[in-house]
């Protein structure tokens, strides 16, 4: 926060309140923090629709923190059974839904918030792809963002175990069992993570600790780092040009506007009201999200003796789950399972290398060439396909087709397994070949200043 020293300390205007503020400001960087990050942080004036999602992510983060605190007051991470035979953890979630005044609202806020978090984060990340927001000098902003995404996935995965329903239990069981594929130490590692030989009470308790305490702390720290790094280098914009190149006599960027109030109240506030309308429309009228936000099978209590027929993770993990399932070959005598785990994690980590993979002279899609536009369109298709196929069983075929013994070999082309592999390969090739095609792509000339109205 080196920028703080550039701001003069507050001078009292002689009123009592002014004196108090002067006293406070002499001892704490209050007005300088306000100025550096809000009233005198200059953001490009040409932000569009895609720039709403960062602020929305903060709003959802606050919703998750506040509702989470209230849920912890009533939730019990206890895998023992009630006299009626329901696990206490499962029962306590329903206790919140039925007996705690307003508890259903708090719980639905939290469950809807989880899905909304991923919706706004995916759109926020896609904005980065569209306008090259990860390019120099914003590499660290982007890397902190990828780490936030990773934390978010960890929180969501652990939080999903807590209601101790069938999908909670078996989802965790399947994903954690993949670690046992690691050569030599695999079994010990999965036992260490679970705290037992199967997902059990010990797993529930540690996931609770990590979900409500450890990972949120890391997440919060990373969000602060993400914003500090952003404010150090300044925001990108839909034209992908640096507004700091052209400043007026006071050193204020000519194409910049103060973040507060122009963007806070003038841009993000109404947008967030719209977001909340979608949020509450889901919460009040469609809380199960068609079985994607709250899975139907999770209304059954966890039963370690009965595996559900159809297992799929929550929708926001399905793309990466598809990457895990795409690996069915045992390369180099190493189990396909472990290649699956590697490709799942690689699918996330490869994002962190984007700043160095992209060598296009233009940052923004507005000035980039046709190769990028076409490949990006297919990248969206690949991600959507992987998301969709991850919700389906391995035997899935498009168009409701069921293969029989004598079906033509062409039927492979409409099989989910084939498309999972195809689009996983595309997903990785998009990144791995980027240094080549981003360089030869025919870009349009990039303007010096931002375009505005």
């Amino acid at each position: 926060m080196a920028a703080n020293s550039n701001f003069p300390k507050y001078q009292s205007d002689g009123t009592r309140l002014g004196n108090a503020l002067e006293w406070f400001d002499a001892r704490f960087p209050l007005t300088s923090l306000w100025k550096a990050h809000l009233s005198e942080y200059y953001a490009p004036k040409n932000f569009n629709f895609w720039y709403f999602f960062g602020s929305m992510a903060i709003v959802v983060l606050i919703i998750q923190f506040v509702t989470g605190i209230f849920l912890v007051m009533h939730y019990q991470p206890n895998a023992n059974l009630t006299p009626a035979g329901l696990p206490i953890a499962f029962e306590s979630v329903e206790y919140i839904m039925r007996e705690v005044p307003g508890g259903w609202f708090i719980r639905y806020m939290h469950s809807t918030g989880a899905s909304f978090f991923f919706i706004v984060i995916y759109l926020h990340m896609f904005r980065g792809l569209l306008y090259g927001s990860y390019r120099k000098p914003r590499e660290l902003v982007w890397i902190f963002g990828v780490l936030i995404f990773l934390c978010l996935m960890a929180i969501a995965f652990m939080g999903y175990l807590l209601p101790w329903g069938q999908m909670s239990y078996w989802g965790a069981q399947v994903i954690l069992s993949f670690f046992s594929a690691i050569p030599v130490v695999g079994d010990d590692i999965s036992t260490y993570i679970r705290g037992d030989y199967v997902v059990a009470a010990a797993t529930l308790n540690r996931f609770f600790a990590l979900h409500v305490c450890a990972v949120p702390l890391a997440l919060l720290g990373l969000v602060v780092a993400h914003i500090l790094a952003l404010h150090e280098v300044g925001s990108n914009n839909p034209d992908g040009v640096e507004i700091k190149k052209f400043k007026d006599e006071n050193g204020i960027p000519l194409d910049g506007v103060p973040f507060h109030p122009q963007y806070t109240i003038g841009h993000d506030l109404p947008a967030n009201v719209i977001m909340l309308m979608f949020f509450f429309a889901v919460l009040f009228f469609w809380p199960e999200g068609g079985g994607y936000f709250l899975e139907y099978n999770n209304f059954l209590p966890a039963d370690p003796m009965a595996t559900p027929e159809h297992l799929a993770p929550v929708w926001y993990f399905t793309a990466f789950y598809s990457m895990l399932r795409a690996m069915t070959w045992n390369f180099f005598w190493i189990d396909a399972k472990i290649w699956g785990v590697i490709s799942m994690f690689a699918g996330v980590f490869i994002l962190a290398f984007l700043p160095w993979l992209d060598r296009s002279p233009a940052k923004s899609i507005r000035y980039r060439g046709p190769i990028f536009k076409v490949l990006l369109a297919f990248f969206v298709v690949s991600f959507a396909m992987l998301c969709f196929l991850g919700t389906k069983g391995v035997e899935y075929h498009f168009f409701g087709y069921t293969p029989s013994k004598d079906s033509s070999p062409l039927s492979i082309l409409i099989s989910g397994a084939f498309h999972t592999k195809l689009w996983t390969i595309y997903y990785f090739l998009f990144f791995l070949t980027m240094p080549y095609w981003s360089k030869i792509d025919k870009c349009k000339p990039v303007p010096e200043r931002v375009t505005f109205k």
Binding site: K45, L81, T82, P83, A84, G85, L86, E91, E94, Y95, M97, R98, E99, W104, Y108, V257, P261, Q262, I265, G266, H267, L269, P270, V273, I274, L276, M277, F280, A281, L283, F284, F285, P287, E288, G291, Y296, N297, F299, L300, P301, P370, K373, V374, A377, F378, V380, V381, A384, M385, F388, F398, F399, G400, F452, K453
Partner: protein, 251 residues
Amino acid sequence: MKTHAIKFLKRFAGVVLFVPALAMAAAAIHLDKAPVSTDQQRLQNGARTFVKYCLNCHSASLVRYNQLEKIGFKKEKIEEELIFSGENAGSMMTVAMTPADAEAWFGKAPPDLSLIARAKASGAGSGADYLYTYLRSFYKDKTRPTGWNNKAFDNIGMPHAMWDLQGEATAEVTFDKNNVKNVKLVAPAVPGSMSAEKYDDAVADLVSFLVWMGEPVAGTRKTIGIFVLIFLAGFYVLTHMLGKTYWKNIH
């Protein structure tokens, strides 16, 4: 020329993204659409059926008897009409049989029904549709230990609890060349105390009650939701107008 190619590719991408929606349209099992009602008389009727026919083996341990006041029962009426085991209206709707006993006697403990209407939803239909179909799909089957089987849940462990209402329903069972079982339900050979229409009505009421029990707050939730959305719509107009004033002088 190039822009044409891009336009084509955009359209192609749109079509490809749409494919999953088409593919999902193919449903697996046919379920009858349940006529779910929120009418209090029908919910009360369903509650009576539930207490009489289900609550002997299946608990609803997440539901308190006095919550039934929300579907119009008077407190005294609850203790009079619905509680036969000496519990008071503040107790949960549990059963005397312990899960361990139930497992010893039936092989599998009858599941708690508090959330059954939410749990049984699937791609094929809502949980209510499943239950409505299932409760009308029992048939006599000599090969089963209980003497009963179910078209919607093959080789079920539970006998037909409401057979005295529906009658002894039967079915024509055939196997096709791939040994896939095909069950065709036929009218009960021994009639029950209800006509087919009346039985369907009774099941509809019971299913409506199970749906209510799955989420008693669902009605309140939707009412509040309308007000919240109206408020936010108004609030949006204000914030939008306020926001615009900040950008008036920025060119």
